[in-house]
């Protein structure tokens, strides 16, 4: 459970509800025993440990705490948040499969989408050898959690949860982000690393 605890201690610590360290760590054997914690971080751990038991096929995987944090922060009830998280994970589980098949399927779809809708950009990305779209991996994995402000993440997820237009609208969000940088990408010679840096900015 080291991975789980590490994740919780570094998830959204800038958000007020998760910021404090006013509670001594309950477990003296934990690597975090000399670091403070707070009641909400402990709730996060409990919910995720419960999920680790609940999901018998996959268990907890690094990154899942990023998906739970906004839900818990809004609902602030651990039982409600747990079951909302379970619902959310029904559609997000494929992102965390160990064989990466779920992520690959989305990246392939994104690849086809760019090829169909913007063949000029696609050709350019092909030349720069960026068509594996690895730089979109983090964005898709946790639904743009790191790309937008906290409030905007909440708004975006609410949009995506409605399945308005598509159950995979997040791929159009990714495509829209790519398109926004289209001119800059086409004007310069980008290698994959530089491309990722630029899009992250």
């Amino acid at each position: 459970m080291n991975c789980l605890e590490k994740d919780v201690h570094r998830t959204d610590r800038n958000i007020p509800i998760f910021a404090g360290e006013d509670t001594p760590h309950p477990d003296p054997d934990s690597p975090f025993s000399d670091v403070g914690t707070n009641v909400h971080l402990e709730q996060m751990k409990d919910m995720l440990i419960t999920y680790n038991e609940y999901n018998t096929t996959l268990g907890y995987v690094q990154g899942m705490s990023d998906l739970l944090a906004p839900i818990y922060a809004v609902l602030q009830d651990d039982a409600l948040a747990f079951w909302a998280f379970v619902g959310f994970m029904e559609r997000m589980e494929r992102n965390f499969l160990r064989d990466q098949s779920g992520m690959r399927a989305q990246l392939v779809t994104l690849d086809h989408l760019v090829q169909l809708m913007d063949p000029k950009l696609y050709l350019h990305l092909q030349k720069a050898d960026s068509t594996n779209f690895f730089f979109f991996f983090r964005m898709l994995l946790v639904w743009f959690k790191r790309e937008f402000d906290w409030d905007d993440v909440l708004r975006l997820w609410e949009t995506l949860w409605t399945n308005y237009l598509s159950s995979q609208f997040h791929l159009f969000i990714a495509f829209a982000i790519l398109e926004r940088h289209r001119e800059v990408i086409m004007d310069r010679k980008f290698c994959p690393d530089v491309l990722q840096v630029h899009i992250s900015n």
Binding site: T57, E90, R91, E93, R94, L97, G102, A105, V108, T109, H112, L113, Q115, L116, M117, F135, R138, R146, E147, F148, D149, D152, R155, L156, T159, N163, L165, S166, S167, Q168, F169, L171, F172, I173, F175, A176, I177, E179, R180, D193, Q196, V197, S200, N201
Partner: protein, 104 residues
């Protein structure tokens, strides 16, 4: 280098992104409808370089197909561009059904 990339966190504007995404979706919808309409009328050669569904037999020798080939037959001066192939993955984008993992 990857660690540096992962730590960058300048945020993108949400509203303009959502608006652009919706516009791209509507455009995608039209492209698919247009492709399906063209294919219904006259299944032609598939554009070279675009992906083929595995196992599907394309009409004619698509790897050799060019826009100046059979697509131009009977079309006069204008050379009709080959109809894009819409993959299964792309078609799923039009669905509102949530895709779940197969489990295990």
């Amino acid at each position: 280098m990857l660690k540096y990339i992962n730590e960058l966190s300048t945020s993108i504007d949400l509203n303009s992104t959502r608006v652009r995404a919706e516009g791209l979706f509507k455009k995608f919808q039209r492209v698919v409808e247009e492709a399906d309409r063209k294919n219904a009328k006259s299944p032609g050669p598939v554009s070279p370089g675009l992906r083929h569904r595995r196992g599907e037999s394309s009409s004619g020798d698509s790897s050799q197909a060019t826009a100046t080939g059979s697509a131009a037959k009977g079309k006069g001066k204008a050379i009709e561009p080959a109809t894009p192939h819409i993959s299964d993955e792309l078609r799923k984008l039009l669905s509102k059904e949530i895709i779940r993992s197969q489990g295990n």
